[in-house]
Symmetry: C2
Subunit: 304 residues, 2 copies
Amino acid sequence: MSLLVVGSVALDSVKTPFGKADEVLGGSATYFSVSASYFTTVNVVATVGEDFPDAHLEFLRSRGVDVGGVETGKGKTFRWRGEYSYQLNEAKTLETQLNVFERFAPRVPDRYRQPALVFLANIDPALQRDVLGQVTRPKIVACDTMNFWIEGRQAELKRTLREVDILIVNDGEARQLAGEVNLVKASRAIMGLGPSTVIIKRGEYGALLFSGAKVFAAPAFPLENVFDPTGAGDSFAGGFLGHLAKHPSMDHANLCKAVIFGSVLASFCVEAFSLDRFRTLTRLEIQQRYREFKHLTFFEDLEP
Amino acid sequence: MSLLVVGSVALDSVKTPFGKADEVLGGSATYFSVSASYFTTVNVVATVGEDFPDAHLEFLRSRGVDVGGVETGKGKTFRWRGEYSYQLNEAKTLETQLNVFERFAPRVPDRYRQPALVFLANIDPALQRDVLGQVTRPKIVACDTMNFWIEGRQAELKRTLREVDILIVNDGEARQLAGEVNLVKASRAIMGLGPSTVIIKRGEYGALLFSGAKVFAAPAFPLENVFDPTGAGDSFAGGFLGHLAKHPSMDHANLCKAVIFGSVLASFCVEAFSLDRFRTLTRLEIQQRYREFKHLTFFEDLEP
């Protein structure tokens, strides 16, 4: 089923203990759509500057991503520069140049206006809601956000959350939004704001899914070489919603499978800089790692 | 099968955001043996001071723990005072009074000298090895340690590790011991020092089991109320080795079950101050939570 994402397309400069990459392809909509492209066709609404290399759009197209909604604005592309320490658990932002992203006014092309699923990546919650106003009510709306909006635009964010089915955030964001340290209580508080499902990403520790009264815990895949965590969260969301686009049910068992697919895609994402791992990644490798997740987490039942 | 533990028995004073407890029962050998007592008989080698309340030993006895190896030394009992912030993830030690523990020279009673399993809780690695010298070679030797010994007694610790089958440490300790941030590589480096199996405890994030080339990831149980994390690690070790005492196989599948039992016991431990949760905990509740762990982690296989 059709999947629409609105978010950023960026040029990232990243330094990790294992190397650095300058002005490489990045952005939430980019990671999301390439990750989800292993499951379904993705329509992207975003903006880039006049300096954005055509080769990057070509790469997205080669993955079957529809970039007809990526507008070229006057000026330069959104740029982010950050670095990671040895623990690789948190990016230190060194520089953000919003450029064309500062004036981003998402415009959903006509042919995108009946999406089955929508992912509202981390942008101004008012813009997130504006996008929902441009489309017929999707089957599933998922959304990300960040501390910046939780602190500065909380009322706006809460209005948006009323229209959201699935919130996908990290543990710090969930705690901040709910004003509650305990994640079980925090997820319940967030459900009171609208979403029936809350996914809490915990980086190297995996993810928690709260759907109704049920809980599911997925580990992160223990990798020997993590080169660059940038984009892992959006790749997770892409794998998660990609699976839901193929199997659009909010049934708990189906959401658990989707969380594993999200974890699989995130685990590949971090194996190389930028989106480079996705340049060679195959559907077969995804299935293989899904099965490895099964081995990683399986334990025998108690004797009756 | 018989399980021997050597470690501390202490009086703890703990403050958490949810309350405080003064001079309550604590210590690694205490948490370990009470936790393991749900699976097998545990023999304890430890030392207390003349001021140690008899009611505490009576509680251990009521759990079927053999405290014949707990010697009463001249002086006061080991005391620890600490507090936790809202995140509950790390104790801040405010005061340590070693007292009789400073002169602890473990003496294994005759009737304990043929243990099937031994747990060397976190004490001086020279004393850990000394205990092994007093017993016939056990089927399984497991061991804990901490940054203090890794920094100050590394050569001694490495001598001890040569005789250890299973090292149970937290992630920071594993990284420090191996001199390696990546936990997959760190566990392999630790295996090079002796243990065939490495368990890395990650607090609220669960535990990783590395046995040979296999990996298993267990989440922590998502609890709504965590009152006091003190003793969770030793309760984990108690549940883990308790299961192994009942089913003494180093088979990967059996180790995975043991990790879940460890996680179950740790999850109960933190629900109350001190060992209070164990005063009412039943074997039935343990089995019930084991099954809840299954629901928490289960996801469907891929269609073939």
